[in-house]
Structures are given as structure tokens and as C-alpha cells.
């Protein structure tokens, strides 16, 4: 009541805006506080910490940029970078293709779409740890699911997570099982394509495949772009799978960048190095996202009908 009373008194054309602004800052204050304490503060602190050799207890030695110059020569950093790049470059196209294919198939007026959608999406709601435990068992070289199916066809399967060569492909195949989240986004995107476009194309005599490549794919490019960017960010942060399934092994074949950050910081207590490595991760993600954004205008169709 008092608010309106105040607003209606004579001095107030200006006061209304001021009052609204005050309420504005009041409502966003939880975010502002969180931003200062849990985002900006840590970002600044992280730069500072990365200049020290510290275990956060009795060791606080200033080392300047040594962590940054040293990481170039760290063979495990190179290994982790190569492994994570391998994972990212395989998973992004693979899971995008799988998700897009399923979404397009489910969008063909199929009966029981909800049931199919559930089946394909379900792996995405299960925790990474449970999935990793399950797939470790599925990959069992002798009595696991994969190799027993391969045996039906007379193929002797590899030793999967126990093999230096096959450990990373194992994680990549497992990631494709989690394509359901992206599929759901593609399905929503497909539904957003105006029916009129297909009707017009049908009148012009376009067949199913022509319509797919001339309407569906171009109209879906913004969704594909969004998914690729999110997927790049996500895959470079891969951690749970390699920790639970292989602990980075065998012979560091699945050592990823975030796993290495975790090891250096939280297992070996070189928090300065861990902070510096996190900035390396940030720089890499930034570069790839910028590359994606810069190539976007060549293939992403933004026209709306």
C-alpha cells in the first residue's frame, strides 16, 4: 500500500524509476553476491594461486609464471591434451550424428514416439559413475556383453578398457550412448520448422530426400551449431568416465586434462599447478568455441520464415 501512496505523491515522476531500480538491484542481489563470491572472486584468486607453489597449508612459494612455462615441457600435459583432443574430436561429430539421426527418424510421424524418446533419452538421466561402472562390466574382455556379441559373428573382441589402444575408443563409444540429451534438443528444433515449408516443397514436386536436404538440414543448422558448441565445452571437461573406468590408464591412455588437474591438485597437492592447468583448459575451450563461432556464418542459416 505504502508503495503506491508514495508513488502518487507529488514529487514523484522521477521517484518511480528510482524505486523500480532499487527493487531491481534488490531482486538480482542473490546473483550479484554469488557472482562476486563464487565467480569473479575465484577467477581473480585463481590467477594469484597459479603464481604460487602451494599445498594450501605450510607451502606458499612464489614461482611467478613457472607453472605456465613448465607445462609446455610436462610430458603428461602433452599426453592429456592429445587424449582429450582425441576424445573431443571423435565424440562431438559422433554424438551429434547419432542424436540428429535418431531425432530425424523419430520425427517421421512414427507411432509411439514418446516411448522411443524415453528409451533413447534414459541413459542421459543416469549418473556418470553408475554408467561408468556398468560399461566397465559391459567391456569385460572375456564375459562382457560386447565381446560375447562380437563372438556371435566370429570376431574376437579387443580388451577394451584394459588395452592401451582401445581404452579411449571405449570411452568414446560409451559417450554415444548418452546422445539422448542432444536428441531431445534436435526434436524440439525439428518441431519448430514451419509445416508450410514442406507443403510448398511438395507442391513444387520435391521428394523426401530433397526436402530433407533443402529444408530440414538448413533450418536445423542453428540447433546443430548450438549442440556442437555445448558439446565442445562438455567433452573437453571429460573426467568422471576416465577416473571411474580406468583411472587414466592403461599407461595414461585415458588421462584427460581435467583428470590431470584433479591429480595434480587434489591428490598431489600442487594447487598452483592445478590452477594454471585450469586456465590452459579455459584457453583451449575458448579457442575452439571462437573457431566454431567464426565458421558459423558459412554454414548456419539464420533466416526465419
Amino acid at each position: 500500500m505504502s508503495v503506491v501512496a508514495a508513488r502518487r505523491t507529488v514529487r514523484k515522476p522521477l521517484k518511480r524509476a528510482t524505486r523500480e531500480a532499487l527493487y531491481g538491484y534488490l531482486t538480482i542481489s542473490p546473483w550479484l553476491l554469488g557472482f562476486l563470491v563464487f565467480t569473479i572472486g575465484p577467477i581473480v584468486a585463481s590467477i594469484g594461486i597459479s603464481l604460487f607453489d602451494t599445498n594450501f597449508m605450510d607451502r606458499w612459494d612464489f614461482v611467478g609464471l613457472r607453472w605456465y612455462t613448465g607445462m609446455v615441457q610436462d610430458a603428461l600435459v602433452q599426453k592429456a591434451l592429445l587424449n582429450t583432443a582425441y576424445y573431443s574430436f571423435c565424440v562431438v561429430p559422433l554424438s551429434t550424428t547419432v542424436a540428429l539421426s535418431i531425432a530425424v527418424l523419430l520425427n517421421q510421424g512414427i507411432k509411439g514416439q514418446g516411448v522411443w524418446r524415453t528409451i533413447y533419452y534414459l541413459p542421459s538421466v543416469v549418473s556418470g559413475v553408475a554408467v561408468a561402472l556398468l560399461w566397465r562390466w559391459i567391456y569385460h574382455p572375456d564375459i562382457g556383453l560386447f565381446n560375447s556379441i562380437l563372438a556371435w559373428f566370429g570376431i574376437e573382441g579387443p580388451r577394451w578398457v584394459f588395452s592401451e589402444q582401445w581404452a579411449m575408443p571405449s570411452l568414446i563409444i560409451m559417450a554415444a550412448w548418452g546422445s539422448g540429451a542432444a536428441m531431445l534438443i534436435f526434436l524440439a528444433g525439428l518441431r519448430g520448422i514451419p509445416t508450410a515449408l514442406y507443403e510448398a516443397a511438395a507442391i513444387d514436386g520435391a521428394g523426401t530426400f530433397r526436402k530433407f536436404f533443402s529444408i530440414t538440414v538448413p533450418m536445423l543448422t542453428p540447433t546443430i551449431f548450438f549442440n556442437v558448441v555445448m558439446n565442445i565445452i562438455g567433452t573437453w571437461q571429460v573426467f568422471t568416465q576416465s577416473l571411474v573406468m580406468t583411472e587414466g590408464g592403461p599407461a595414461n591412455a585415458t588421462l584427460t586434462l581435467v583428470l590431470y588437474i584433479y591429480r595434480k591438485g587434489f591428490q598431489q597437492f600442487y594447487f598452483g599447478y592445478a590452477a594454471a592447468l585450469a586456465w590452459l583448459l579455459f584457453a583451449i575451450i575458448l579457442v575452439f568455441v571462437l573457431i566454431a563461432i567464426n565458421t558459423a556464418n558459412r554454414w548456419v542459416v539464420y533466416e526465419r520464415v
Partner: protein, 292 residues
Amino acid sequence: MSVTTDSLATASRRSPMRPSRLALRVLLYLTVGLGGVIFAIPFYWMIRTAVMPADQIYLFPPEWIPNSLHFENFQTPFKTFPFGRWFLNSGTIASLTVVGVVLSTSLVGYGFARLRFPGRDILFLVVLSTMMLPEQVRLVPTYLLFVKLGWTNTFLPLVVPTWLAPAFYVFLMRQFFMTIPPEMDDSAYIDGCSPLGVYWRIVLPLSLPALGVAAIYAFTFAWNDFLWPLIYLTKVEVYTVAVGLRLYQSTLATDLQALMSAALMSAVPTITLFFVAQRYFVQGIVITGLKG
């Protein structure tokens, strides 16, 4: 819809093509069905292992159907570790997260969507850009902060940040509030509401779908979270389900049926939530406009 109308149109135009359209249809169902089987088999394998008699699991070649059902395998995880306690811990953390996320982000989202104040648009751009920051950059310094506060082995490091409006949900709320006609606010102002009154009496009751989406996402992410609880919770009795599951990996390595029963039980809450609230998962994508 589109497909039905256009296939009708094409069918009437070229009726001789009909058999091949039928073949395409059959092929479609075969592909979707085969894909569905491939996606479902790992779940079947988990359930089959969880209820199988121990001696049957290690047979070669592996058998698909259990000879008998052994539901007592589901008791083993509870005997080895405080598995029930971990469920309580995860449930507590996830519930507190849901309350915090829903309250804080709806308030902040309301401010960004509805109130005018200097710097609003720039601040909202900041919200969006923090969504892109990998959380590992904040990992080490926030760890130092929480260690200094003496919050390790409590749920506070996991819950408190979620009460301070995580960016993704602010974005989700703001996008939804933008779709509510502002005329509703004006009539409430005329009736004497303050901006907070409008938030509480008008905007929130109209936003139950968005609140539901945020609650479900927040619960799922909190339940499945691994890296943060792994770092902050080091005592077995304060573990979450996701962190605790890892202990079974070594202790139940030779008891696969119990290991799979633990993994299966750990997934029951999020799977149940998905079945109960399936439409909210889809709605979240529509609200945020994630589709592009």
C-alpha cells in the same frame, strides 16, 4: 503433422510409388527398433546381472536369462557401506539445491525480465557469459575458500552456491518470464502491489511450468554430481550416492551382482523423476530456446 500431410500429398500424386513408400516405412521402424534395442541392452545387462545367481554370472559364454531371480543381491550394498545414509545425503543435498535454485533464480530472473534499472542489460550479458566458463577454473580457489571456512565434509559447499542464483537457471527463468504479458503486472501495481508483491502473487503462480523445469534439472544435476562432492566430502558417512558408488568398485569387484544392484538403485530416483515429469524435460528446451 507435417509428415502426415506431405506424405498424403505425395502418395496421391504418385500412386505407383506406394510399395516403395511402404518399404521405406518398414525400414524406418526397423531402424528405430534396432537402435532402441541397442540403447536398451546395457540397461537389460545391468538388471540381468543384478538379479542373477552368482555362479551363473561367470559362465562362458555368458547367459542372457537368469536361471533364478535373486533379489537378495540388492541387500549386499547396504551391508557393505552405509548405502542408505548416502541416499539420505544425496536426497538432502538435491532437495536443498532444488529449493535454493527455484527461490533464488526466480527472484533474479524476475528482476532481469521485469524491472528497469541502470546496467541491467550489461549485467544480463555477464550472466550469459558466465555460463560458458568451465567450472574447473573456479575449482581450486573455491576449494581454498571452503577449506578456510571449515566447510569440508559438510553439505554447505554443495548447497550454498545454488542458493545464490546459478546462471543457467537465471537464464531459464528470465526467458520464461518474458513470455508473461506485462499488463498483468500493471493491474497489480494499480491494486497497490510492490514489485516484490507482483513477483510473489502474479509472476510465480503463472510460472509453475518453468519452476518445475528448474526443479527437475536441479535435482538431476545435484543427484548425479560427482567432481564437487568428491572434493569436499572425504568421510564415508557424508558421501553422496555418486561418490560412494566408487567404493563398491573395489570392495565388490568380485561381487558383480551386488555392484550392478548398487548402480541400478543409485539411478532409480532420477529415472523415476524422468518418468513422472517427462514433459518438463521437453518443456525446458522450449523455454530456453536451446533449440536455436
